[in-house]
């Protein structure tokens, strides 16, 4: 089962999410749902000196969406906002380390979509991600 979607890293993030919670006050906050699955993600961000100084996510949904959001927060914490804004979906998918089929792609990318929408202040179209 080496190629299972549910390999250890993802299950670890799913069972022990990093940076889970909310930030109040925050500089950016956004939330969205994946209407097909009902996954919900909210991400709060604090910025200091143009760097992501703190980040928390909350929500509920499938293991993939929650684990991916958890991994995403680890990836961007401490990174310059300008770089986070250009984070490609491929970067996150690589971090996930398992092939994501088309049906679960929206789950895996929901957190990234929410984060970018927050930083840009608008909801990007699905495929502009």
């Amino acid at each position: 089962m080496g190629d299972s979607l549910y390999r250890e890293l993802i299950m670890d993030h799913s069972k022990h999410p990093r940076n889970k919670g909310t930030l109040d006050p925050h500089d950016y906050s956004y939330q969205d749902v994946n209407p097909l699955c009902g996954d919900e993600i909210r991400i709060d961000v604090r910025v200091q000196d143009d760097v992501v100084s703190d980040i928390k996510f909350s929500g509920r949904g499938c293991a993939i969406s929650q684990a991916a959001a958890s991994m995403l927060t680890e990836m961007v914490l401490g990174q310059p906002v300008a770089e986070v804004k250009t984070l490609a979906k491929e970067d996150l998918l690589e971090e996930l380390g398992v092939p994501i089929g088309p049906a679960r792609m929206k789950c895996a990318l929901l957190g990234l979509k929410v984060l970018k929408a927050g930083l840009y202040g608008v909801a990007p179209a699905d495929d502009s991600l």
Binding site: M1, L5, Y6, M11, C37, G38, C62, A63, R104
Partner: protein
Amino acid sequence: MATPLLSPAPLQVDAIRADFPILNQANERGQRLVYLDSAASSQKPAVVIDAQANYYRHDNANIHRGVYALSERATTEYETARKRVAAFINAPDPDTCIFVRNTTEAINLVAYSWGRQHIQAGDLLVVTLLDHHSNLVPWQVLAETQGAELAYARVTAGGRLDEDHLGRLLDREPKLVAMPHVSNALGTIVDVARWTRRAQAAGATVLIDGAQSAPHLPVDVAAIGCDFFALSGHKLLAPMGSGVLWGKRDRLDAMPPFLTGGGMIRRVTVDGTTWAELPAKFEAGTPAVGEAIGLGVAVDYLTELGMDRVRSHERDLTDYALDRLQRLPGIQLYGPDDLDERAGVISFAVGEVHPHDVASILAEENVAVRAGHHCCQPLMRELDLVATTRASFSVYNDETDVDRLASAIERVIEVFA
């Protein structure tokens, strides 16, 4: 309804499975495909696939009005398919079987054509919380367009229609009652003959959504007595793009057309148009002839198996599956307990694991099930669920499939332990 004393002879599932080319697939680990998503769409036997392909290889032409051999053959085969479908649902007159794309189009046809003619401001329409979006949203739209009221008959926690509530709604003399014959989310079988009688006694026109019954139970529209009955070919071993609206002749005759254009006219002038007779009146444009022919072959395949045997087989399999699954730790099963009120659909939850994760892990074990709201969001909300995982059976499933399902669920439990 008691179980008949003499069950019909069991289906020979191994032989049936051999008729379905797609079921030969195995994954990289050599696990054969266990297809448990027939409520979403069934697989097709080779006879159906071949009938459609052979039509295009030998007989394809636009039907009606062509005088050459291909067109005559295409027309004859198309109308033969209509007769086969009529026999399958015991429709007294083949011309009252309208070929459509799917159940959704059939219901929209009635909502637009019959609905806008008959429903007025203040009228009451009744649907049920067991209904699929395709038997809900068209009536929402109709109610809004016409200024009518739409009421939803409630369901019990066990997934049955709330008889008292529906009874009270009927007391309000609705103009329309639409309900499913079988719930795609819970498998609930509705006693549609009884409810049709009661609804019609209250003055209602009755539409039965047969998308989930036609593939799994003997259907007799004459005995049900409803005014309209809708089904999808693709859930019934037939190609996609094939479906049927059946209606009582006087209803259909009195309705204006829905789609207009070629093939459904008697005479077109710049001042106006008169319509063709049934069934042409409701089949505007070039129909999906090859698909309809495939549907005719599919219903004959099922008739040959015998719908009584199909029902009995799926009932036994559901019995086995409910028994097998409820022994798994943390599993939650939804839907009616009484097997006589339940078709071969099992919605379930595995502890707190999200249904999409359940379905994904099952997919890794080559067990195909569906996860989600099953196009029944109002029902999900009523039962306080976000989504379920659903396994659904057809003629090509047997106990070995249930065993594979059970062990795949065991892996879910393991991964999420």
